[in-house]
């Protein structure tokens, strides 16, 4: 392919096309916006991670002796808010989705490039409000903002925290809108729906949830802010309001939100498993349908967070039943990934190690969801560390591993450099070991009865040994997370230059240079092949250097 050449003789890419801060802050190139997001979400990941480390350090001993009670309550609140709203929800869609979606469908950008930039600025504005909250004394409502505690009984920065999430929510809504329209309207000739990579299907399903669910969160947080400022009485029983109304409204978004977080990761895993098994995915239709099924049924289960909240017996039974329905498509996906490996030709590069980790940990997290969906068990373990372990298995063991796997897989495409494979594998191993040591003991702690959000447990010293194990794991996990930051940065200068297709992978993104030029394709591609056409790609994955 003839490519544009700069004066210096270098090939023109989206990275060197223009220099200077303005060219980044005013870019409408989806790839540059993806990098803007990458820097910002990494920043928030470290803040959320720092809070987590402080929490785990406090819990080393039963007594509350590291920080004060109010400080601890702020730490777990802001850990949750930062990680959920400023890291997990945007992470894959805003970084990998933004970068890859247009390329994977053969387009030169998203449908609305300027709205894409606006999304980032909304995210940054929300992030700034969150930082303001953190630096000015914090907020201690719990990430769930339950009323009337948050509206009537706390003197911390509830309003700015609520507004931070409110503003960031619009970033999510607009990204969802952009992806849906792009997928419908900008596919290259021949790229039919049934030829789309599952990464695209996953982002499509995610975007539907973002579009439909986030506005409910926005309204709910606005109501909390208004209740706090004007004492309207919507959620305050003393004024005739209902605290459970808040919970229904909050969870109506926040349950589908967990699918916003995991579906993109499932898309990544499909891409990686197919590439490193050299096989098309087993059961493409089932996989695509499962993604859509999770998105739809995910809207029908929210009150499984409220089984002991005071809802009616019969409502609880209906939500328990529906929660089991939503588990089925997830199980199907695990079976299909496993079957994709059958009779493959498998290699164990870093992305594949993360994919293995995902399959194992997501399976465990998903199975423990079945415990929680069972009413009789949930009464005992809800609001304990069992729930904390469950959602961290899915969000950290699942989602963050998928994100890291994706970052390694597409790093050559994004940066034009290879990361050091040996360090990549070491980090993946550390993450896997550290993760399990951190969170497996918490299942046991939960069943033993340790409630969540407890600063001090000196009344129950029997909880200590498991807490110590958990904190030990957290330190290993932290090392596993810091390593990629270091070697990705290192690789930008010293990494081996990457070829167009270092993995001999299928997909349009691997048919253009690494890094791509600004408009992705020299000419609009015409697609005549199915997704994951590994039957036509004869080569294996090259051996790592």
């Amino acid at each position: 392919m003839a490519t544009a050449v700069l004066q210096s003789g270098e090939r023109e890419t989206y990275l060197n096309k223009e220099y200077g801060i303005k060219s980044w802050l005013l870019t409408v190139d989806h790839k540059r916006i993806a990098l803007l997001y990458l820097v910002s979400i990494t920043f928030f990941f470290f803040i959320g991670g720092l809070f987590a480390l402080l929490i785990r350090l406090e819990l080393l001993t039963p007594a509350g002796d590291l920080v004060q009670a109010d400080t601890y309550n702020k730490l777990f609140t802001m850990h949750g808010q930062v990680m959920v709203f400023f890291f997990l929800i945007p992470s894959v869609p805003a970084v990998l989705g933004n970068f890859l979606l247009p390329i994977m469908i053969g387009a030169k950008d998203l449908a609305f490039p300027r709205v894409n930039l606006l999304s980032w600025y909304l995210y940054i504005t929300g992030g700034a409000l969150m930082l303001y909250t953190i630096l000015n004394g914090g907020v201690d409502t719990g990430w769930t903002f339950y009323t009337p505690l948050s509206t009537e009984f706390l003197n911390t920065h509830v309003v700015t925290a609520g507004l931070a999430v409110f503003v960031a929510g619009f970033s999510s809504i607009l990204t969802g809108l952009n992806f849906v329209v792009t997928t419908h309207r900008m596919r290259a000739p021949g790229m039919t729906w049934s030829r789309l990579p599952l990464f695209v299907w996953a982002h499509y399903a995610t975007s539907i949830i973002q579009l439909l669910g986030t506005p409910v969160l926005a309204i709910t947080l606005l109501l909390v802010v208004c209740e706090r400022l004007f004492h309207l009485g919507i959620f305050n029983p003393a004024l005739g309001g209902d605290p459970l109304l808040f919970q229904h409204l909050f969870w109506f978004y926040s349950h589908p939100a967990v699918y916003i977080m995991i579906l993109p990761g499932m898309g990544i895993v499909s891409e990686i498993v197919c590439c490193f098994s050299r096989k098309r995915v087993f059961g493409y239709n089932a996989m695509a349908l499962a993604l859509l099924g999770i998105a739809v049924v995910g809207f029908l289960v929210w009150a499984h967070h409220m089984f002991v909240a005071g809802i009616s017996l019969y409502a609880a039974m209906i939500f328990s039943l529906l929660s089991y329905f939503v588990a089925v498509p997830s199980a199907i996906k695990v079976f299909n990934w496993t079957s994709t490996m059958y009779k493959g030709s498998i290699t164990y590069q870093t992305p594949m190690l993360y994919a293995f980790g995902f399959i194992g940990l997501f399976t465990m997290g998903g199975l423990t969801g079945l415990f929680l969906a069972s009413l009789g068990i949930d009464v005992h373990v809800t609001d304990t560390y069992f729930v904390v372990a469950h959602f961290h298995y899915i969000m950290v063991g699942g989602m963050v591993m998928a994100y890291l796997g994706g970052m390694h897989f597409w790093w050559p495409k994004i940066s034009g450099r290879m990361y050091p494979e040996g360090w990549g594998r070491l980090a993946a191993l550390l993450v896997f070991v550290g993760f399990n040591l951190t969170f497996f003991p918490q299942f046991i702690l939960g069943y033993m009865g340790m409630p969540r959000r407890y600063w001090d447990y000196s009344h129950s010293p029997e909880f200590q040994i498991l807490n110590v194990l958990s904190t030990a794991g957290a330190t290993i996990l932290a090392v596993g997370y810091v390593l990629p930051m270091i070697y990705f940065l290192w690789s930008m200068r010293y990494g081996k230059p990457a070829p167009d297709n270092p993995w001999n992978a299928a997909g349009l993104e691997w048919m253009i240079p690494s890094p791509p030029s600004t408009y992705n394709f020299e000419q609009q591609p015409v697609v005549t092949w199915e997704a994951y056409n590994y039957d036509e790609i004869k080569e294996e994955v090259p051996v790592a250097q």
């Binding site: 339950y146 409630p451 590994y534």
Partner: protein, 323 residues
């Protein structure tokens, strides 16, 4: 004193055995499913690793497999659902004639009042072998009454009652935790449930000398003037309260509701919310004028008007709240 097994708390109630049985069942099935998947992934990863001369075999899929591994997990999940739902059904329906303990939770303590009048703070004494129903409300934010050894938990809400019940089976002292984040000293809102042999419990009770809750309520009923309208004949400006507890009440807008604890409480705090058919909306509100403990005493008194003379246990138990 506080003994816990390494993997689960002691089983000190009838519910605990049932919950642990379901838990172990789930553990076994989950372990089997995980081992099956992990083994397959491991075996495939090694057996189908890249080797010279071997190529991947492209397989589209298999309808038969998809259907099988949709249907079988679904059936297993339905067993999990059914068993769990059965347990929950038992858990949410207190037995008739359970002994009541009125509970008021506040930041950051538990206040208990036995029907016989004893008050306790953060410690709850109960006898073995008796059904005990906690009728609970909060003075401020949402709390949650959690006794791991009994495997029960119920959120405690401001503005209404929620209930939990248990049947203790083993003497001992067990943790009571608040399980819904409620502010600064959430982790300090802990106490204990002391389960005693019946004779020890009688001895403990005898040392009190406090009057039964319903009698306190009767006194309040007179002091606050309720008796002027709610006479025990048909001449009063308000409905006669004798015998109404636990029975359906026809309201003037045509609805019928059951007169449970929440109904009585609401009628005192927001009388205009539900007007009994045939009466005028003239009752003044007592919101802000009486404490939660006084409300509990009044509810206990109204309940006692529907019972045969002993006035000890509750009659119809309250329907669970609105979704």
């Amino acid at each position: 004193m506080f003994q816990t097994m390494p993997l689960w708390p002691e089983r000190a109630s009838t519910m605990a055995n049932n919950v642990d049985a379901l838990y172990i069942f789930l553990l076994v099935v989950s372990a089997m499913m995980s081992i099956a998947i992990f083994t397959m992934v491991l075996v495939f990863a090694v057996r189908f690793r890249k080797r010279p001369g071997h190529h991947a075999e492209q397989i589209q899929g298999s309808h038969a497999l998809e259907i099988t591994w949709t249907f079988i997990p679904f059936c297993i999940f339905m067993v999990f659902f059914g068993w769990g739902a059965l347990l929950y059904f038992k858990e949410r329906k207190p037995p008739k004639d359970a002994t009541e303990v009125y509970t008021v939770a506040k930041q950051w303590m538990w206040k208990f009042e036995h029907i016989e009048g004893q008050r306790e703070i953060n410690e709850l004494h109960v006898p073995i072998g008796r059904d005990v129903e906690m009728i609970m409300t909060s003075q401020d934010v949402i709390h949650s009454f959690y006794v791991p050894a009994f495997r029960i938990k119920q959120d405690v809400l401001p503005g209404r009652y929620t209930t939990a019940w248990f049947h203790a089976t083993k003497p001992g002292t067990y943790h009571l935790f608040c399980a819904e984040y409620c502010g600064t000293m959430h982790s300090g809102m802990v106490g204990s449930v002391v389960v005693m042999e019946p004779k020890d419990y009688e001895a403990w009770m005898g040392g009190g000398g406090s009057q039964p809750l319903a009698v306190t309520g009767e006194k309040l009923f007179t002091e606050l003037g309720c008796i002027t309208c709610h006479r025990s004949d048909t001449q009063g400006r308000g409905p006669n309260l004798v015998g109404i507890f636990g029975k359906p009440v026809l309201l003037e807008d045509g609805r019928t509701v059951v007169a449970d604890e929440n109904y009585v409480r609401e009628s005192i705090l927001q009388p205009a919310a539900k007007i009994v058919s045939g009466f005028k909306p003239i009752m003044p509100t007592f919101q802000g004028q009486i404490s939660d403990e006084q409300l509990n005493a009044l509810v206990a008194y109204v309940k006692s008007l529907s019972q045969p003379a002993t006035g000890q246990t509750g009659g119809r138990h309250m329907a669970t709240a609105t979704p």
